[in-house]
Symmetry: C2
Subunit: 335 residues, 2 copies
């Protein structure tokens, strides 16, 4: 996480601008990696920091901690949070657990396990809240991807010709499978994007909020379902939905922050964080007029074949001037 | 494998130019994939072909076989060769099992299992022989990779500065680890290359030959060790060793081919097969004079952490005019 200063900076500020909340406290860093968040917590005044890391990065973390002269405060423990032993309950859990579109390959499951095992009643999570957003955008990438799909199908047709001519083998019986596979790849797989705010052509909807102090593992593992509206702000085509998240550092009611910090991955003219945004392309585009409302339903489900990947279904219907009423359902993967 | 016509064409020729060897025979295709080799064997006159495929590609293979009207001859069986049942012994085993540098992620282990279980005495393997080669080359890529390594180290230095300035964290204690990791990546990891024959500046040495009728699984799993010489044909630097393989289709002594076919992955002015060549970069380059002999030892070992990847050690010593006598040992990975 180190090279992304929006990210590292947000955690730094969340700690250093809230020394009162950290002063004399016991902190647990879940998935410490290089140890950087544990170091921030110690610098912010924590009395003791347990920094848990499953991988051999724990060895680097130990050295980094020692190089800052913080080995008296920070204890690096190599292990997985589900089985690790920590000798006391903690006041604060800090963790950088977020994945693409918040939840893909996220470590939030482990943070909740840590919360339920180790956080004192009234203790605080850093971050304490997370939100997911969707907005309609206009993107060249959509046309490009459709073009790439067409190229791929032309390549297949040529290949079939060659195979017939060179080897007398007819491949046409596999064409439909090939087409589906390519459609799936080019049209129904969400893409990492660095969207410029000028591409956002409608209001962003916050379709999901998590209070990390109370959300349960069961809620997190169940399908996420939401209905929401997005208002189109410009005439013209909408050819993708762009998804992102933010996390907020508010502390807990019993130990609130003095300065609230937000880490956002929204479209930004200065460029994306490493998370970028996830864009879901709509081909053909949806022709919209200013003031139209896109009435949406979203469902985000962990994939059965791989719990860390996700299927996303978006149902939308235009309510307004342009071609109203027709419902369209699009199903995507986040790979 | 289909889109690589050097590869597909070699198997096609090996079958179709040797109809006498296939006529009326029982054939086993190990890892048939789309079924193409089984189809070639059937077209060449095989009486019966068992086409074994572990993955769901078996379903495509069945449809492709039916589309050629060959379902009476070819039986597609989904399963792994180690446990699959085949109701008779076979005359010929055909398989496209080769990996990068011949052995990386290769399916040869499975082919030998199939041979020992299912091939009649005197039966033939297609291919029947395989050879591995190494040659000294001159490559821009070596300089480029060293340049990339230097860039990466400069990036790290800047990053350390930023981390100190922004967050008061000193990272220098990790610099040596970072340097090693980057060296490993840029200098000691073999690269897929499409080498032009004009880059080859010395004689190629065939350092290993396999007769697939007799090689044992034990031999294959043991470290491959060889000593050999390469003669430099041009004055100037040698900055990489380039490795490739070929396979030969000779049939068996009891059922020989009429037309011998070779599939080579050597540097080729018309471009590489999908296997390319594996290049092992030498930085700094070795200054050589025409006529110098590079006396080499090579050792290729399966990696303990992943049997399908390989470590390659090359020891070389110049015997000749330019800077003779000094031995240099380079250790590479094939990832």
């Amino acid at each position: 996480m180190l090279e992304d200063h929006k990210r590292t900076g947000a955690y730094y500020n969340a700690c250093m601008q809230n020394r009162a909340a950290f002063s004399g406290k016991v902190v647990l860093d879940v998935g410490t990696g290089s140890g950087i968040l544990a170091i921030f917590a110690a610098k912010a005044g924590a009395k003791k920091v347990y920094a848990v890391e499953a991988t051999d990065m724990a060895k680097s973390a130990k050295r980094l901690v020692a190089a800052q002269g913080l080995e008296g405060t920070i204890e690096v423990i190599q292990g997985v949070i589900e089985t690790v032993e920590i000798p006391e309950k903690v006041d604060i859990i800090i963790s950088e657990w977020m994945g693409y579109f918040l939840l893909r390959e996220s470590m939030l499951d482990s943070v909740l396990v840590a919360r339920d095992k180790f956080l004192k009643p009234g203790g605080a999570l850093y971050p304490s809240h997370a939100r997911m957003f969707l907005a309609p955008i206009r993107s060249n990438q959509c046309r490009q991807r459709h073009h790439d799909f067409q190229n791929s199908m032309e390549g297949w047709a040529e290949f079939c010709e060659d195979m017939k001519q060179y080897y007398g083998v007819t491949l046409e019986c596999l064409s439909e499978d090939y087409r589906k596979e390519q459609m799936d790849y080019f049209s129904y797989t969400a893409a990492w994007t660095d969207v410029h705010p000028s591409q956002v052509v409608g209001s962003a909807a916050c379709f999901k909020s998590y209070d990390l102090a109370t959300v349960t593992l069961e809620e997190l593992k169940a399908p996420l379902k939401a209905t929401f509206n997005m208002t189109v702000l410009e005439d013209g085509p909408v050819d993708a939905f762009c998804g992102w998240f933010d996390t907020q550092f508010k502390g807990s009611p019993q130990n609130p922050v003095t300065t609230e910090v937000t880490l956002t991955t929204a479209p930004d003219p200065t460029g994306a964080t490493h998370w970028g945004q996830q864009s879901f392309f709509l081909h053909p585009p949806v022709e919209c007029a200013e003031g139209d409302v896109l009435a949406c339903e979203i469902e985000v489900v962990r994939r059965k074949d791989n719990q860390r990947l996700m299927d996303v279904m978006v149902k939308h219907r235009i309510e307004g001037k342009a071609a109203p009423g027709k419902e369209r359902v699009s199903c995507f993967h986040i790979e």
